[in-house]
Each structure stands twice: as C-alpha cells, then as structure tokens.
C-alpha cells in the first residue's frame, strides 16, 4: 500500500474534525498529533511512516515494526509507554502526553485501509484539505515539499 495522508494547509479551516475522528476511532487516544504553533494555528501532524523509522530503532521492546507494505505499526501489547519513540521521532508526530500506558501512534486506520477505505481523518475532513492519496507516482510527488511549505507559509501569514 502506497497511500498516505496529505494535508493542504491552504484549505484547512482548523475545525479539528480530523483530530476528533482519530480520537473516537482509536478508543479515545490521540493518534493524530496536533500542535498549537501560533495563536489559533493548529498544525496537525500525522506519522509519515518513514522508510527508515527512527521510532522503530529507538523502541527498546521492539513494539514498533515497519511492515512489508510500508506501514509503521506499534504493538499495543509490547508497548510499555516509555516515550522513546516520541523523543526519537524527528517530526514530533507521536504524542508525548500519553493517556494510557502505551504511546499513541498513527496506524493509518489499519482496519479501514485494509478494506480500501480512506483513513478516518481524511474521510471526515470538512474542507477537503486532508486527503488520502497514492504516493507511488514519484514524479507527481516531486513538488509536494514546495507545495507544503507554501501552504504552511500562507497559513502562518494569514494568522498571528
């Protein structure tokens, strides 16, 4: 599976429906990290499911594994909530404020994506900013970092 969550900040209305969808579908745990960057600007950060995940390397209990299909999955049973993965993640995508004894970590809504459905956060998006798209076409994704940077800059500029 080569689909990932993509967020266009230029279209996001900051309604937090994606965070609520994630919260309620993952048994009241925040798998989708949200950061208050500036006043009233909420940046929502999904796990990138890195090719070489640092969280996997940092986990002392081997609870985090990168599967063959590219998904970086955390085992509920093995995780002890030591926060190593959260500290290792270069994107701050794992919530340090754990609500149970385990670290919440995006699983790309495994139970839905197996049935070829969208992730909860993309499915619920009220403005069309968050999409669940195929990233296997490298050419099409070339300008993604630039587009991302531009949309963040626009968002920050429109709000202080």
């Amino acid at each position: 599976m080569n689909k990932r969550n993509v967020l266009d900040y230029g279209r996001c209305i900051s309604c937090k429906s994606c965070i609520a969808a994630c919260f309620y579908s993952h048994e009241y745990q925040d798998h989708l990290e949200a950061s208050q960057v500036l006043t009233n600007i909420v940046l929502q950060m999904n796990c990138r499911h890195c090719e070489q995940p640092l969280c996997e390397a940092a986990c002392p209990r081997e609870a985090i594994k990168r599967r063959d299909d590219g998904l970086v999955i955390r085992s509920n049973i093995k995780c002890s909530g030591c926060t190593s993965c959260a500290q290792a993640c270069p994107f701050g995508a794992i919530d340090l404020e754990k609500t149970r004894h385990t670290m919440p970590k995006c699983d790309l809504c495994n139970w839905r994506t197996l049935e070829d459905k969208t992730t909860m956060c993309a499915g619920t998006c009220t403005s069309g900013a968050r999409t669940f798209v195929d990233i296997s076409d490298g050419e099409a994704q070339k300008d993604q970092p630039m587009r991302g940077a531009r949309s963040v800059a626009k968002t920050v500029r429109r709000e202080r």
């Binding site: 209305i13 919260f23 309620y24 619920t124 069309g128």
Partner: protein, 563 residues
C-alpha cells in the same frame, strides 16, 4: 455480528448523515455516509460525539421524583396527578410547556396536540438556541438545496459559517475554486476562519449587520428595499459608500448567488433584520438563501409548533405566578437563558417536570425528572436547512428509562384519560410585521461601545451553549478548553502577555479566563466562548417586546490582567 446503519446528526440544522458500526446492537464506531446529500461523508468534530452520546456513562437514565429514583411509570403518574389538580384549580392556562429543538417533527405534532387537546393551554413554546427564533421570523426556512452550493459563482456568508457549520465548507471552497472569477464575500465583526477564505470581508460592528445588508439591498434597487442612511451603513462596515455599491453591482451580475447566514448572540431585532435582508438580497439577485441554525430541528419546530407563544412570555408568566405548572422537554432553561428566570421562581411552581439527556440545572430543581432519549435512539423525521426531510431510524434502543418526548406525552395523556393525535403541520407561521425603517434607524443611532465590548465567539467543537458538547471527552481534552480572543490594542492596554489569565467583569458578574491575543479582534472587541456558562452569564438577557425574544448584551464590561 457487525452491521452498519445510517443516522443523522442533530447538533446543528445541517443534519449531516453518518454511518454507525454496530456489534450485536451495540455501537462500536462512527463510519462515514458518502451518500448523505449535503455532507457526502464529511463530518465535523461534533458529529463524532454521536457515538459518545450513546456510550456516555453519566447519561440521565432513571426517572426521579423529588430527586429520588423511581420507575418511569411512577414519575409519569406523579406528573399526571399534579397536572390534574392544577388544571382543576386554575384551569389549563396555568400550565406551560417548553420543548427543545431536537425533537422529531412527529413529536412536535404530539406536543401541539397534548397542549391544546389534553391540557387546554396555549402556552406551548420552543426553547430556541441563541437568536434562532428572530432569525426564523426574519428570513424563514430558506429555499436553497445542497446542489445549489456546487454551481454557485458567488457566496455571501453572514456569520462564521465554516466554524459554526463546518460540513458545508468543502462544497463552498470547491465552488469558489471552480473558476477564478467566483467569489466569497463575508460579513463578520472580526476575522473568523470563514473570512480566511473570503475575497472580501465586511467587518460590520456587532449588531450592525442589518445596516450593511440593507445598504446592499438599497444599492441593488430591490423592490421594497429599506431606507438606509448609506453613510452610517458605510461607517458601520468601515467601508466607503462606493465600495458597498460596487459589491451590490457585482452581486447583480452574478449568475447564481447563494446567501448563507447564521445568527449570533446579540440584539434580537438586528438578528431578525439580518435574516430578512439576507433572504431579500438572495431574492433580488435571483439567488438562493440558506439560513443555518444552532438547533438541530429548529425549522421543524417553527413549522409545527408555530410562534403563538415564546419562551420569554412563558417565563414571564412563571415569574408573575400565572403559570403554576411547567413541563420542560429537553432544554436546560436556567443555563440556556442565564438570568431570564430565577431558581426561586421555578421552586415556587406547583409542578416542574423536566426531561433531559443529561442531568442539568433545570432537572435538579424539578419535582419530577424524566430521562430523554437522544435522536439516534428513536425513529423520526426532521427538517434541515437545505430543504427536504431527514428521516432517521433508531440506531440503538433507548437506554434505561429514557424514551422519546412523544412517547412521554402519550403516556401522560393516557394517564390523564385522553389520547393525543398526530395532526398535520401548521406550516410556517406568518411573522408579525415590524417597522423596518424605524428598527434600522434605531440601529444606526446606537453609538459604538467605548472601550471593551463582548461578542460571541464560535467554536467548532461545541454546540453554542455546551449543554451536551461540554460533557464530551474530546473537547474537554483540548488545551485550553476555553479562552477569550483579545485584540492587540486591548492586550497592550492591559499589559497582557498571551496565554495569561484575565478577569472579565460585567454588570452581571465576573469570570477568570485564559486570554489569547490575536490580530483577528479589532476596535475593543473581545470574543467570548458562549459554551462556558460563566462567560455566557456575563451577558444580560432582556426580553424585547417587539421581537418577543431576548436581547443579549453585556454592559459595564471591564477587564483586568491577573499577571
């Protein structure tokens, strides 16, 4: 065995469709309903509360008499017995009935039949949220269909539509981007998240929206346009007269304009005129008008119950002692209209029976408490903002002793020895005429408030009063849970650092709250969270004889920094 069923959300009048996964009849998780005509699968944060609402451990599920748990039949018998004796002593007119805005259309018909045929009272009223009632009286139920959002080339959005009703944002933004020449115009007192997407944002001072919309109507040379002093309208909007005329000319040239409007707490006459002019602007340019309400089935309530009596009138009768028994189905009237009725007045009643989904202040003061089912627990039809009818089939069986209001009314009628019918809807009531020019003149003359003035801030995580949404886990986990938005000028005056606490004082009380300093707020405006009872209670709720609703305003506002 897992199954998926479809339901509708009643946290606002969009009535978005959603799916629910059930396992042997028990709700498991929310899914999306891509076939829902308006939201097409999208669901705002409040929509996701529908599952927690069914699973919430603190639901009010057992009937009470004098705060002691009793079987529902005992509670119903107690209400019926008291009603009989009060009716015998004082006549049916001494009984008042107040219903909320989340009942099904069928239940509203039963309420009408119960009040008129069984009890013999005219005092039946709907507890609308905020300024929904004058908004309905002014502009009616609108004529827009969901498809109108897709092919419109211009939107006039009055109010913070994207945060108040997020599920239509996608269609509006997509229609805007369909062509470079398409446009979004917004009218809001401060820069809201809706205004981020606006091509032109009219910053009308709070409660002066009718002046601006009336000026646009006047510039359109529309039939029956009000007499508006263009200079004072332009001053209220912070624009030049030529800019208002240019905006009107642009609206006239558009192929399809959709006017979407929602009300805000404030002057009820202003809310009524805002809706009236918004609908007339849509008519005069051949466009469509969609009013959005906070109450899930506000339009259904208005069509079925009518506007014979209003809550301010009934609560005034309670205070005067004319009403001896009050039945409240759904709303927490003590919190919904802070200060409009006192607990002493309620305690003095011969009978106060209150049904609710959660125990609340009104049910705590009631003689009889009746648990009420939520909209996903019973069948019914509802009337949404974008036309048509929403039919909901029960997703799960009601829990505990909770039942739908219609069922409670039927049981009460049976105890009283009669039956209730399910009559035909009364249709949209004829709103009484108001002197538009005089009302506009009064708005124009109202001087801008010196110093700090409070305005209601919209929050996408809460229904406006927070009676249900405030009990949900997700919004409670947000940091900060509540905040006031303060402009940089006010913050500089107070020497306020962002994130520090301020004490906001008005003639009605004070509250301590976190301050967020933002350049959204200008001219001494401060946005307060209406879902926090203490913050809402800073406003005075004064009945307005002309609109028959409450004017909500804060006077004597002062702010001090706690740092």
């Amino acid at each position: 065995m897992a199954e998926k069923r479809k339901g509708s959300c009643l946290f606002c009048s969009l009535q978005c469709g959603f799916g629910m996964e059930l396992d042997e009849g028990a709700p498991v998780r929310i899914d999306f309903d891509e076939e829902a005509p308006l939201n097409r699968g999208a669901l705002c944060a409040r929509g996701h509360y529908n599952i927690e609402l069914l699973l919430h451990p603190r639901r009010f599920l057992a009937a009470t008499v004098n705060r002691r748990r009793v079987p529902r039949v005992t509670a119903i018998s107690r209400v019926a017995g008291k009603l009989s004796s009060i009716k015998e002593e004082n006549g049916g007119t001494a009984i008042g009935v107040i219903v909320g805005t989340e009942l099904s259309n069928e239940d509203y018909r039963k309420a009408v039949s119960f009040a008129s045929d069984v009890v013999g009272t005219r005092s039946l009223a709907v507890a609308y949220d905020g300024n929904d009632f004058p908004f309905l009286e002014g502009g009616g139920a609108g004529n827009a269909a969901p498809e109108d959002l897709d092919d419109a080339d211009c939107f006039l959005l009055v109010g913070d539509i994207f945060w108040g009703h997020p599920c239509i944002a996608k269609r509006i933004i997509e229609a805007r981007h369909a062509s470079r020449s398409n446009a979004i115009y917004t009218v809001n007192p401060y820069r809201t998240n809706t205004d981020w997407f606006a091509d032109f944002h009219i910053k009308a001072r709070p409660d002066t929206e009718p002046l601006v919309l009336g000026a646009i109507l006047s510039a359109l040379r529309a039939k029956g346009a009000p007499k508006v002093d263009m200079d004072s309208a332009a001053a209220a909007a912070g624009l030049a007269v030529a800019e208002i005329e240019a905006l009107a000319a642009d609206l006239k040239e558009r192929k399809k304009v959709v006017v979407v409007a929602s009300s805000r707490l404030g002057n009820s006459a202003s809310a009524r005129l805002t809706a009236l002019f918004a609908s007339r602007i849509a008519d005069s340019v051949g466009g469509k008008y969609a009013p959005l309400f906070r109450g899930g089935n506000a339009i259904g309530a208005y069509r079925h119950v009518g506007s014979g009596r209003t809550v301010p009138e009934i609560l005034a009768d309670v205070a005067d002692g004319k009403i001896k028994a009050l039945l409240v189905f759904g709303p927490d009237i003590l919190q919904l209209y802070p200060g409009a009725v006192s607990t002493d007045d309620l305690e003095a009643l011969g009978l106060l029976a209150a049904s609710s989904v959660f125990e609340n202040d009104t049910s705590k003061h009631s003689d009889v408490g009746l648990p009420q089912a939520v909209w996903t627990e019973f069948d019914g039809s509802y009337t949404p903002s974008f036309g048509g009818t929403t039919s909901i089939e029960a997703l799960v069986r009601p829990q505990g002793d909770a039942v739908a209001v219609g069922e409670m009314l039927q049981a009460l009628a049976a105890e009283l020895g009669s039956g209730i019918g399910a009559g035909e809807p009364a249709g949209e009531p004829e709103a009484p005429e108001i002197d538009v020019d005089a009302a506009l003149g009064a708005i124009a003359k109202r001087a801008p408030v010196d110093g700090v003035s409070l305005v209601e801030g919209t929050n996408p995580l809460h229904r406006w009063d927070g009676a249900i949404t405030g009990r949900m886990t997700f919004p409670q986990r947000q940091r900060p849970y509540c905040e006031v938005w303060i402009g940089e000028d006010v913050a500089a005056e107070l020497g306020l650092a962002p994130g520090s606490n301020v004490t906001v004082t008005s003639d009605r009380g004070e509250t301590r709250i976190i301050a967020t300093v933002t350049d959204r707020m200008q001219g001494g405006l401060v946005a307060i969270p209406s879902y926090v009872p203490d913050a809402r209670g800073l406003m005075a709720w004064t009945p307005n004889a002309e609109t028959r609703w409450y004017d909500v305003a804060a006077t004597g506002v002062k702010m001090t920094s706690d740092s």
